[in-house]
Assembly symmetry: C2
Amino acid sequence: MFRNPKIIYSWPYGQHFCKYLRRNASFGEVHPLFESLIAGNRAALARAITLSESTLERHKQESAHLMSSVLKHNLQNRSLRIGISGPPGAGKSTFIEAIGLHITELNNKLAVLAVDPSSTRSGGSLLADKTRMQQLSVEKLAYIRPSPNRGHLGGVARATNAAIQLCEAGGYNVIIVETVGAGQSEIAVANMTDIFVLLVPPGSGDELQGIKKGIVEVADMILVTKADGNLKTAARLVKTEYSRALRLLRNHDDTSWKPFVQTVSSISGKGISDAWSDMLEFHQEMISTGKYQDRRKKQRVTWLWDHVQDELLEHLRKDTLNAKFQEKLEADVRNGVILPSTAAQKLLNLFLKGKDNIS
Amino acid sequence: MFRNPKIIYSWPYGQHFCKYLRRNASFGEVHPLFESLIAGNRAALARAITLSESTLERHKQESAHLMSSVLKHNLQNRSLRIGISGPPGAGKSTFIEAIGLHITELNNKLAVLAVDPSSTRSGGSLLADKTRMQQLSVEKLAYIRPSPNRGHLGGVARATNAAIQLCEAGGYNVIIVETVGAGQSEIAVANMTDIFVLLVPPGSGDELQGIKKGIVEVADMILVTKADGNLKTAARLVKTEYSRALRLLRNHDDTSWKPFVQTVSSISGKGISDAWSDMLEFHQEMISTGKYQDRRKKQRVTWLWDHVQDELLEHLRKDTLNAKFQEKLEADVRNGVILPSTAAQKLLNLFLKGKDNIS
């Protein structure tokens, strides 16, 4: 697996580390990053995440090697993973900074990750610019990491799932995963966190247009932001409306937790510590009822088959030999001259041609 | 394709038809069922649907042959496809009977189909028992068909999509697709219809527990049923609550249609004709704005890739040679000792082994 460490380790490690590797060509079972990672070394964490985001085959193998130790190490971990979503203008980063400073003040180690399939490394997208959370970014107990750039949600989600584990191994006991709410990314984030928080700005109509279908219904907690100054009354009104709406949704859920709505102000700080207490209460209840582990187990299996499905489709769609045939079929389906199921069968037959170990 | 008609056509056609086929071994381009189907023959429609539900390879080929003419025939069709869902006890069949009789009274041809992945032919499941809609089932302009029995949602959905087309070719201009609301079947039905109607019983708590997440948000219309007798006030209250909730959801949608809530009574008939007028208005607006065709085009392409994904996963999971390996990996993922993405990659590598036309 690690036949030529000189080449394999020329990246993404620093000079010093490369020297170490050259001296220790055979380093046994545990990946060399592992010890510094669990010792809480930030640089090691950053490197481990970068490694897990790489698409190069040798990095993938390395990352799998590192992750096997990380997962074993995390087995008894009881971290709190918080998903945060909200439409543009809901004040997500201001809120994360406010509650993040509160969380670290209480001596918790906090990692802030992001899921933004639209982000590009070069662009000034979500969290790419740490100046958005100026105070939190200089806080020693906080680690902020921009969204991985993988082009499509499946890749971003995969990388973020790995990053969560790496942060937990690094001793971060609270992980916030922020999403911009593009398409299906909220559902992905809800599927990788223990509690899903929806931020809603006061006001209605235009401001709320960014809230995607189905999001209100998966929220464990709704926080109406900007409840200060002359928006105080508006925020309270929105709170009442959402409380009413929530009574109609989610009452079928199998957890005993009743999702609720609160108002917060990231400026005055009002409601921030209450929001954190509520999250902790939720966390405790989940652990004591065994739902914490159940939910995570289910999430992991869901991810497995989601990844398999994603990758299979990806493979089929990248099947360049049949690209024209695919285009033609999709156009025929769109225009209604062939049934979607018939076209699907044709695509599959072609793709699976040559595979003979299928029953 | 039709080399031995004697064998191919021994089923599902009647004796008379078999004789015809034996006399006409070569029947050219159009499938022999097609003419009777578009002439409005109910027996031909029933046979065509049965054929489309068959999993035998020769029936699949036949069905594809028939469907190619059917789809061409339906291209300019402007039928109204109505999806109807609601929790158990919402009074779905009573409502469908009431509005169905109203629809046929106005001289429309109405087909009622069902999507119920849990149904078994032998069991007394959804719509299997036509006595549920006694009056409608003897109505000449109505055609009622129980849910296909395919075991999983993908198969049921595929068969229902074909049945919709066959009914439309048979001259049915209104198609109601009912769902029991098991898991994802509501979303599937919303994805194959032009308007999605949610039925809600008056009352709250227990009665509403059957409404799944996300369903309220995809509804184009919510009808509170049983608005008669001593439930009248309760129904009006539920209407107000849902009207408020709807203001918070769906306001981001790209259609100009504002979903709304009405009360109906299938017993007194109050609200039934209004509900039908509203559906027609929706239909007209969709057609005049071009959203009718757009939505259908999008639905078809969605179905194509859904089917492809479903089938690919099905193939992989049926890969009996690797069944034990799959089980082991899934258990490892559940227990958190391997990353879902790593396990997915292992499964894929094994499955795709031997395929060399993948880029």
